[in-house]
Symmetry: C2
Subunit: 122 residues, 2 copies
């Protein structure tokens, strides 16, 4: 069962973390034909953790999990922290395929979103 895990940084602001749950819900609605379940998790400052998010998807039957990093640039979090946690979980779940997708800032469409936002202000 193919599953998706949206991974965000996490914030001390509850409202900020709540935004991610809304994004994950919208994403789930849009991709449910391709992914049986879509979860969300936070790198730090909020719950569930990435490890907990992976656990939950596996407990619900995931056999493959695409981890989608909701980060704009490839800093330490994208290059080191997220892969480190995912690698540890991969060792724990040797029969589940874990794969990290490109971080969202790398998507070619990001520039379109910036252009649209700047045009709306013009």
């Amino acid at each position: 069962m193919k599953s998706l895990l949206l991974v965000a940084h996490g914030s001390r602001r509850a409202e900020s973390n709540a935004e991610i749950t809304v994004v994950a819900k919208s994403l789930s609605d849009r991709v449910h034909g391709n992914y049986a379940q879509t979860g969300y998790a936070f790198l730090e400052l909020a719950q569930p953790s990435i490890a907990d998010g992976i656990d939950e998807l596996v407990n619900n039957g995931a056999t493959e999990i695409i981890i989608l990093p909701y980060f704009l640039s490839a800093g330490r979090h994208v290059h080191e922290d997220v892969p480190e946690i995912v690698n540890l979980k991969q060792k724990e779940y040797s029969d589940v395929k874990l794969h990290i997708a490109p971080y969202i800032g790398e998507a070619a469409e990001m520039i379109d979103v910036l252009v649209a936002t700047s045009e709306a202000e013009n």
Copy 2:
């Protein structure tokens, strides 16, 4: 002269900051009909600072600056740190209009980027 300032978090990784300069260049190319100049700046960990970025645009003739926060969620940085710096600069430049655009994570199109990325992995 209307100008745009892309504001990112900043990273200890030079490659991550370099990504922002590339994004700013692409953005500049796309919006130059609406904005005479497009700059970039970092909240922390990298240069130029937001204050320096505003200074440079003003020195080059900006009379209005739209600050575009390249942040995915409205944490402390978006709600407090960026506005605080911009407000201080607004007091310094009373004849320049400074305006903060919605942060990029608030754009409706963000969900499309997530869907596209998750579909590419499917």
